[in-house]
């Protein structure tokens, strides 16, 4: 499918530090693409370069093969966001819609629809300073989608939201994608992203670490792990077959990371008797753990997978 946004070989240096280095990815219509990474990885810088708020040192950004980014076709929710304090909710929504060239009447009716959808009925004439933080976030989200953008860029859309509002946002994002909007979102909350995104791009210290579709990434990286509670010596556990690494969680709990091609039932059958087991569980590494792993000890994954990160 034709990508709606194409980012190629983007680099940006602040002072002497390369904040993003040779970043390339695409966002397609109907799909949710996530840029993931720990704080300071370069997610917001990448997004600001796409939005033209910063100018990249190298590389290019194109929207439907056009280097001129049509701002009124893009919806944007920045990471650091707020609203004018002493104005009414409807006034600010209409102003932001007006800046995107939406006719006033249409903007008003769409704003009312969305306010209803986000449980903000009757709030249109309330001053922004009277809104709670969550309500303010909802109004900002509405402002980003009021003009029916073809591409929606959301920088940390879930931060600061309660679980109910998170669900609401997730549903709306899914719905927008289903209706044909290309969505690029950044987050460090893996569990939320895992549920909704189709493809991901993991970035660390300004460089690409992993990218691909969610299923693909899981297949490639989400190996099995086995958690054992019992009185054992770590070196004994390390000697077990197909164990690549052992983490000691506390005195009696160990996490055994297994190699990629391990056959779990066969592996369990061969389990030696001398290992003390009070509790035992086997499951796959979550995206969250991959992420933590990369953020803290990327060398482990590196060794296990034999992948060389750029």
């Amino acid at each position: 499918m034709e990508p709606i946004l194409r980012v190629s070989h983007l680099s940006k240096t602040f002072k002497d530090k390369k904040v993003i280095d040779d970043i390339s990815f695409e966002v397609r219509k109907d799909e949710i693409m996530a840029i993931l990474g720990p704080n300071g990885a370069g997610k917001s810088t990448t997004i600001r370069n796409i939005m033209g708020i910063m100018v990249p040192d190298e590389g290019s950004v194109s929207f439907l093969n056009d280097r001129n980014i049509p701002r009124h076709k893009i919806g944007y929710l920045p990471e650091e966001r707020g609203l004018y304090k002493n104005v009414k909710v409807m006034d600010i929504l209409l102003y932001l819609a007006d800046l995107k060239d939406v006719p006033r009447k249409k903007a008003k009716s769409r704003a009312l629809d969305y306010l209803r959808k986000f449980d903000l009925v009757g709030m249109e004439n309330v001053s922004v300073e009277e809104l709670s933080k969550g309500m303010g976030q909802k109004v900002q989200f509405i402002a980003a989608i009021l003009h029916e953008p073809e591409l929606l860029i959301l920088d940390e859309p879930f931060s600061g939201l309660d679980p109910v509002s998170q669900e609401l946002f997730k549903d709306e994002i899914r719905q927008l994608a289903a209706d044909g909007t290309g969505i690029l979102l950044s987050s460090h909350q893996m569990n939320l992203v895992e549920e909704i995104c189709d493809r991901l791009f993991l970035i660390h210290r300004g460089q690409k670490v992993i990218d691909g579709s969610m299923d693909d990434v899981k297949r490639r990286y989400a190996n099995f792990k086995c958690t054992i509670r019992g009185k054992n010596e770590i070196h004994q556990l390390k000697e077990l077959p197909d164990v690549q690494r052992v983490d000691e969680k506390d005195d009696n709990t160990f996490i055994l990371y297994l190699s990629k091609h391990v056959h779990i039932s066969r592996w369990l059958r061969q389990f030696p008797e001398h290992v003390d087991i009070d509790e035992m569980s086997v499951d796959r590494i979550s995206l969250h753990e991959i992420f933590i792993d990369i953020a803290t000890r990327e060398q482990h994954l590196d060794q296990e997978e034999g992948v060389t990160y750029a």
Partner: protein, 405 residues
């Protein structure tokens, strides 16, 4: 351009809906004129306490007519009819203050003579005020002479004609009238001050944009240049609004209290130059304010450098007394050519000077225009980066780096 206008419209609308702006809009002129009124009230109280008592010995039967005329002119007279004889008046007046006796009898009609006796202590303006009685007596005289209504009208017209020629003569004599230059100059001063003050709102608005963290949302739709220029235009209109509000108070007040027809003084060609200078001054200061506003985390966190820049528009004040002492002197000329003092000093000089130094005016306008161009460019660079640095106060070193890039 369209986005620029949208931003300007929004800034205007937002402020007009803002209570504190509206209060400021009306309180500024109200305070200004409140003090003026207060002075007048004290001033008036002296007169009003003691009206002049005017006894009229009326044998012509026009007392009511006269009283109406006096009321119309709002003279502070207390009018009474009397039957006193002329011979008794002098003794009576010795024991009275602020009292007058007027005798209206045949002498008025035949000889045009009206005897007026006043007490020793008398309001100095009384003998002028009494001339308002001329008209009703004249009218009566004309009626007595048997003139028709048209003839009477013709007669009164003649009187008007005479008056207007007298006024014209006054007009030519008014070449030395200080108000002729000072009033338009003062008007431009008010204009400059009110748009510079509203320019300070720009600074507030830019730093508020940072504090509220909305800048990045706005910048996803407009360019930093459009946002900055939209703000400058918006607050210019608000400044004009402030000036118009002040004039809305000032013109009627001046007409009423001082009896100066302000509008006649203002609607002269010179006003165009005054307004041009005021507008240029605004553009220069607004560039400063928008730049400083964008480089600050919030209003309370000004550093010394920013504080100094903020004070620049008030620099002309130190030139006021030397310029008034010698409007063509060296200090006045220096003040004219320094961009930040130029608008204020130029306005002051042009209001005082009889002969305008056109060459200096043109040089000053050129200096102003070039400075505006340079400062707008610099402000644009500072604004572009500064407005997104949420919660951070830029150091002069950082600002210098933004300017160089």
């Amino acid at each position: 351009m369209r986005n620029l206008l949208k931003v300007a419209r929004w800034e205007i609308k937002r402020n007009l809906k803002n209570r504190s702006f509206l209060i400021g809009l009306f309180i500024t002129p109200a305070i200004l004129f409140g003090f003026m009124l207060l002075g007048n009230v004290f001033d008036d109280s002296d007169h009003r306490e003691d009206p002049t008592v005017v006894y009229v010995h009326d044998k012509l039967g026009i007392f009511d007519h006269i009283r109406k005329t006096v009321d119309q002119h709002q003279l502070n007279w207390k009018m009474k009819e009397t039957d006193i004889r002329e011979a008794e008046v002098e003794t009576k007046l010795k024991s009275e203050e602020r009292t007058a006796y007027i005798f209206l009898d045949d002498r008025a009609l035949e000889e045009g003579l009206i005897p007026v006796y006043t007490s020793e202590e008398m309001e100095p303006a009384f003998m002028q005020q009494i001339h308002v009685l001329e008209f009703p007596i004249q009218t009566m005289k004309m009626e007595q002479l048997g003139l028709s209504a048209e003839e009477q009208a013709a007669m009164s017209q003649k009187v008007h004609f005479k008056e207007s020629t007298a006024a014209e003569e006054e007009g030519t004599a008014m070449g030395g009238d200080p108000l002729k230059r000072a009033l338009p100059g003062g008007f431009a001063g008010i204009l400059l001050l009110s748009i510079v003050f509203s320019g300070m709102y720009i600074f507030q608005s830019a730093s508020q944009e940072k504090k509220d963290k909305i800048a990045e949302i706005i910048l996803s739709s407009v360019t930093p240049g459009e946002l900055m220029q939209g703000k400058i235009l918006g607050y210019f209109v608000l400044g004009i609004l402030q000036a118009v509000t002040i004039l809305g108070f000032a013109v009627p007040m001046a007409n009423w209290k001082l009896d100066i027809p302000i509008l006649e003084y203002l609607l002269v060609p010179e006003i165009l130059l005054y307004v041009l200078i005021a507008v240029l001054g605004y553009l220069l200061f607004s560039a400063l304010y928008v730049g400083v506003g964008a480089s600050m985390a919030d209003i309370t966190s000004t550093n010394n450098f920013q504080g100094m820049v903020m004070m620049l528009p008030f620099l002309p004040f130190i030139f006021i007394s030397p310029v008034i002492r010698d409007p063509s002197g060296l200090i006045a000329q220096i003040g004219t050519f320094i961009p930040f003092t130029s608008p204020g000093v130029l306005l002051l000089r042009l209001s005082i000077l009889e002969e305008w130094p056109w060459i200096e005016i043109f040089i000053a306008l050129a200096v102003l225009s070039v400075s505006i161009y340079i400062f707008m460019k610099l402000a644009g660079k500072i604004f572009k980066t500064g407005i997104l640095m949420y919660g951070k106060n830029a150091t002069p070193k950082e600002i210098w780096r933004w300017i160089r890039t």
